[in-house]
């Protein structure tokens, strides 16, 4: 409540943090917590015994709420050699101008289960607020579909003790490939797709649980794959009487499902809350799904990644031009390159000054211009003959003509040398 009251006092610009230091004995913070992190870019820190301890605590808070060296390395994960990264670093999606999110319900057994889900209501209630908050980062579009007779490629094992079917952790990677053929590619747009699948197992394979690496069943019965999406298994209880009429009508509990999917969405964007020291207390962001400072974190990461992408693209374009001298660069391609360079420079300058929003916009413009310059179709035309074709045409004609000429030149040289020797002999 204090946080909400303090909010109007702050300078609410993006990328900035406000920290309020509270005396050690204050009762504002509950016992055992020394830092309270709000959802609007501010934090309450309890003063430690001494100034260095306070410094250390403040540094910890900064590392949590803003970026660290590891998070920047994670953003540049494609360009950093492998040894220096933590295993989670490659989980987050690459920065893009837009994303498509598709929710699919897989029903492999429509004869036994007639599954209904109120996806439209669930998207409006749960997903839309999160996407509205994220709309600064990229454009989002949401779709959903129901696929029938779509099976997982893996046969689950039957476990007698729990009388249920289990999918072990090492068989999970094999699940995605057969399903992806049915999901349909988004032919009408160029943005990367995030797939969230809800699988209702067949009557003969119910109930189905996912095992993690230790062998215990996962409580949410879901797993996600980095840069692709997530899959959740939704078990339907067996009918009360064995003679119940098939198909069973199933109404999916969208709140439970959306909880899992939104958590997976946060993980896929790289917003995890793993490395928190125990005395920290985080305020929950409520319906919006993520706090303001997490949004800033995402923007930092995307801006850095965009700048790295632009520099790589322009460098490869320059190297290409060095190698193939024949390519003609048109004026509009050149202007795109200039615009990309100018945008990158302004993005870096804005980042140094801490203006996150304008830096992000500049980096987006830079990426668009550099991609447009690099993938311009006019670069693909080779306007002159390549060198080996020239050789193939001219050599069969000129070589037979050149051979006698070269031979007689050699003869002439030999004769002049001999004549030079002879006058000396005769003399």
């Amino acid at each position: 409540e204090a946080d909400a009251a303090l909010r109007p006092l702050q300078d609410v610009s993006m990328g900035s943090l406000t920290m309020y230091v509270v005396p050690e004995t204050s009762s504002l913070l509950p016992q055992g917590t020394s830092v309270y992190v709000g959802k609007h870019r501010s934090a309450l820190v309890r003063a430690g015994g001494s100034l260095p301890a306070l410094h250390a605590r403040l540094r910890q808070v900064t590392q949590v709420m803003s970026f660290t060296a590891t998070s920047i390395a994670a953003a540049l994960s494609d360009r950093v050699p492998d040894g220096r990264l933590s295993p989670d670093a490659r989980r987050s999606l690459k920065s893009s101008l837009g994303y498509e999110i598709t929710f699919s319900l897989l029903n492999p057994d429509p004869k036994s289960h007639a599954v209904d889900w109120d996806i439209e209501g669930a998207v409006n209630r749960y997903v839309k607020p999160v996407l509205d908050k994220l709309s600064l980062v990229a454009n989002f579009s949401v779709d959903s579909q129901i696929l029938y007779y779509a099976i997982l490629g893996v046969t689950p094992r039957y476990d007698k003790e729990s009388s249920s079917f289990l999918l072990s952790a090492h068989s999970l990677p094999h699940v995605i490939n057969p399903v992806e053929a049915r999901l349909g590619s988004s032919a009408a747009s160029l943005y990367p797709v995030l797939n969230f699948l809800l699988y209702v197992p067949e009557r003969s394979h119910s109930p189905l649980y996912i095992q993690d690496k230790d062998g215990a069943p996962v409580s949410t019965n879901a797993f996600h794959s980095p840069r692709w999406g997530g899959i959740m298994v939704y078990n339907v209880e067996a009918p009360a009487s064995p003679q119940a009429s098939l198909p069973l009508h199933v109404d999916v509990d969208m709140a439970r499902v959306m909880e899992v999917f939104l958590a997976q969405l946060r993980l896929l964007f790289g917003l995890s809350r793993e490395e928190l020291p125990p005395e920290f207390l985080l305020e929950s962001p409520g319906n919006e799904g993520l706090a303001d400072w997490e949004l800033d974190h995402l923007l930092w990461a995307h801006t850095v990644e965009n700048i790295a992408t632009v520099s790589t693209t322009l460098t490869s374009l320059a190297q290409l031009l060095d190698k193939i001298g024949n390519i003609v660069i048109k004026d509009d391609v050149a202007s795109e390159v200039y615009r990309a360079v100018a945008s990158v420079q302004s993005a870096v300058a804005e980042l140094a000054m801490g203006h996150l929003h304008s830096a992000f916009q500049a980096s987006k413009e830079a990426v668009t211009s550099s991609e447009r310059a690099f993938f311009d179709p006019s670069l693909l035309h080779l306007l002159y003959f390549p060198d080996d074709q020239k050789f193939a045409i001219y050599i069969p004609l000129f070589l037979p003509m050149a051979v006698p000429i070269l031979l007689s030149l050699a003869k002439i040289v030999r004769e002049t040398r001999q004549r030079k020797k002879e006058p000396t002999k005769m003399d």
């Binding site: 598709t102 429509p110 004869k111 209904d116 109120d118 996806i119 439209e120 209501g121 998207v123 209630r125 749960y126 579009s141 779709d143 579909q145 129901i146 029938y148 007779y149 049915r182 349909g184 590619s185 988004s186 032919a187 009408a188 747009s189 993690d212 996962v218 409580s219 949410t220 198909p247 009508h249 199933v250 109404d251 509990d253 969208m254 709140a255 959306m258 909880e259 899992v260 939104l262 958590a263 997976q264 946060r266 993980l267 995890s272 809350r273 793993e274 985080l282 929950s284 962001p285 409520g286 319906n287 799904g289 045409i393 069969p396 004609l397 037979p400 003509m401 051979v403 006698p404 007689s408």
Partner: protein, 579 residues
């Protein structure tokens, strides 16, 4: 594991939605599937599958769409590109109208795509290009070869088959690729669009190894807007996927003309698709000469349906896969057709309208395209619209166009001709011709063959160049008056084309595609030229140069040498003085 930990920190504040009653959710889409088996006069049998998905939704650009039975790939395509109607057909083989009768839905050999766009689309050509490229990806067909050299804008032949507010023909594009081949890799994505896939219902019969072992195979996708109900206040989308295949006696190997589902498809039907609201098999058992029945079907049908289709009264035996009586006796349904008595050729009914097209002339410079249209109705005349699309490299001479009926000239009442532009646009010729009763109309036009640039020849240029089929659209007068059909109640094969009144029915026929040889250069000439020039240069120039620049030395007489000693030996033998 991780997701679990995060859930404790993530609290969704909104209350869950009010509990809904599970059963009886109002569905906004419906699926009907149907198979029609019609025996043809020559002993062959034609099987037509139709899968119709009807969706009461509005596919607007930018609105979030939630798909259930309607496939997401096509729905997003229609929404993103502003498509009002889409018709795509991939065909292998030719429907012989003269022997087989009028088809329920015919398609030309190769690939045919015609699309009506919404009036809100500003750049129709750009949308057309994107559409053909995306469809080429979805159906694994080379539709990306559709460009301005084979796209035309017909003015009268292709009116919208669904609801339409106004028909500005600049929103229509038509293209045909006669060289396209249809195979299993086109069938698989077509089957993937069906809600039940090929796992349940009628689609289990669609196995590629039997379907392509036939004389005619055509698969098509039709998307159009239709009225949601009789008052036509709201619009629904309809997706029809049709597959027509003709199995013929000779390729199936046996001499007997008895057919069964197992013999045709090597599968039988076990159940209906659980998502379909209707799943039926119709068998055409109409008596041919109106006296006695020709065909016997086993097992006994669940009901018999009579309808007037294409001007003729026809009787159908119906098997309803959703009725519980059907699978009472046996687990699978294998419909068998047996001929009761042998057929003679005098019973073959001749269709009212059929056509033929061929290339006349000789040599590689000029030629003539002749189209013959037959009207075999004894006393009724009717008009027909002929659409011809000829590629630019066959230069048509319109002043040589002649239309002759019964020996006299027959002037068309409407001609639309758009000449070709080299490498940019094909010829388009549309004519409205009145066909008198019981007559043959011959339409001829002369052309000249062009010489292409050497990079424009396709691989294997001596195979020839294809000219797409011409399209004949007509309202054929029917013998029996037809009642207005209610789309939801009547079988699917009767509601394909909208009928304007009861006295005539709409027919669209395609003629044969033509294969024309263009003057083809010899592609080995550049190699020959290089070899010849280099040889000439090496031999003539080399020896000339040597002659001009040779210097002479005085040589000491040498003592011997092998040649001289050999020559001396021979001289000794001959008794001639030695060298």
């Amino acid at each position: 594991g991780r997701a679990a930990a995060l859930l404790l920190l993530l609290l969704l504040a909104a209350c869950p939605g009010p509990g809904r009653a599970g059963a009886g959710r109002e569905r906004r889409d419906a699926l009907r599937e149907e198979l029609l088996l019609s025996p043809l006069s020559t002993g062959d049998v034609a099987a037509t599958f139709q899968f119709r998905t009807r969706w009461d939704a509005d596919l607007q650009r930018g609105a979030v769409s939630h798909y259930r039975l309607f496939p997401k790939a096509l729905g997003r395509l229609v929404a993103a590109l502003g498509v009002r109607e889409l018709h795509l057909a991939l065909t292998q083989g030719f429907w012989r109208t003269r022997f087989w009768g009028q088809p329920p839905l015919q398609a030309p050999a190769g690939a045919e795509l015609w699309v009506w766009f919404q009036p809100t689309v500003t750049d129709v050509d750009k949308a057309w290009k994107e559409l053909s490229n995306i469809l080429s990806g979805i159906f694994c067909a080379s539709l990306n070869f559709i460009d301005s050299t084979n796209t035309v804008i017909p003015t009268a032949s292709f009116k919208p088959l669904g609801l339409a507010n106004g028909t500005d023909h600049h929103l229509l594009r038509y293209a045909v690729l006669p060289r396209e081949v249809v195979c299993t890799e086109n069938l698989t994505p077509w089957k993937k669009l069906l809600p039940c896939g090929s796992k349940a219902g009628l689609a289990v019969l669609l196995k590629a190894e039997r379907l392509f072992h036939s004389s005619y195979h055509s698969q098509a996708v039709h998307i159009r807007p239709i009225c949601r109900d009789a008052s036509c206040v709201a619009v629904s989308w309809e997706l029809r996927q049709t597959l027509t295949v003709v199995f013929d006696v000779f390729s199936s190997g046996q001499g007997k003309k008895d057919w069964s589902l197992f013999k045709m498809f090597s599968r039988t039907l076990t159940d209906a698709c659980p998502l379909a609201s209707q799943s039926k098999v119709y068998v055409d058992i109409s008596p041919k000469n109106k006296e006695k029945e020709l065909l016997e079907v086993t097992p006994p049908p669940t009901s018999v349906h009579e309808a007037v289709v294409q001007g003729d009264k026809k009787t159908y035996a119906v098997y309803d896969l959703l009725s519980p009586l059907l699978f009472n006796t046996s687990r699978s349904l294998n419909v068998q057709l047996k001929w009761k008595r042998p057929q003679d050729s005098s019973e073959m009914p001749i269709p009212v309208l059929h056509a033929q097209r061929y290339v006349g002339g000789y040599g590689l410079q000029t030629g003539e395209i002749c189209t013959l249209i037959y009207n075999t109705h004894p006393h009724r005349a009717f008009p027909v619209i002929l659409l011809e699309t000829v590629p630019w490299y066959l230069r048509l001479y319109v002043h040589t166009l002649t239309v002759i009926t019964k020996g006299k000239e027959n002037k068309p009442s409407y001609i639309h001709y758009q000449p070709a532009q080299d490498r940019r646009r094909p010829h388009l010729l549309e004519m409205l011709i009145q066909l008198p009763a019981n007559s043959v109309t011959k339409i001829t036009i002369q052309f000249e063959r062009a010489l292409l640039k050497w990079t424009e020849y396709p691989p294997d240029p001596n195979h020839g160049f294809y000219v797409g089929s011409s399209v004949l659209s007509a309202l054929v007068p029917s013998v029996i008056a037809m009642k207005d059909v209610d789309v939801e109640q009547s079988p699917l094969f009767t509601s394909l084309f909208p009928s304007s009144d009861g006295s005539s029915y709409f027919v669209r026929l395609y003629t044969e595609p033509l294969l024309v040889n263009l003057p083809t250069p010899d592609f080995s000439m550049p190699y020959n030229v290089i070899c010849l020039t280099c040889t000439v240069v090496a031999v003539c120039y080399g020896s000339f140069y040597n002659l001009l620049t040779r210097t002479f030395h005085v040589e000491e007489p040498s003592r011997g040498g092998l040649a001289k000693r050999l020559a001396n030996v021979i001289r000794k033998l001959r008794g001639v003085p030695l060298l």
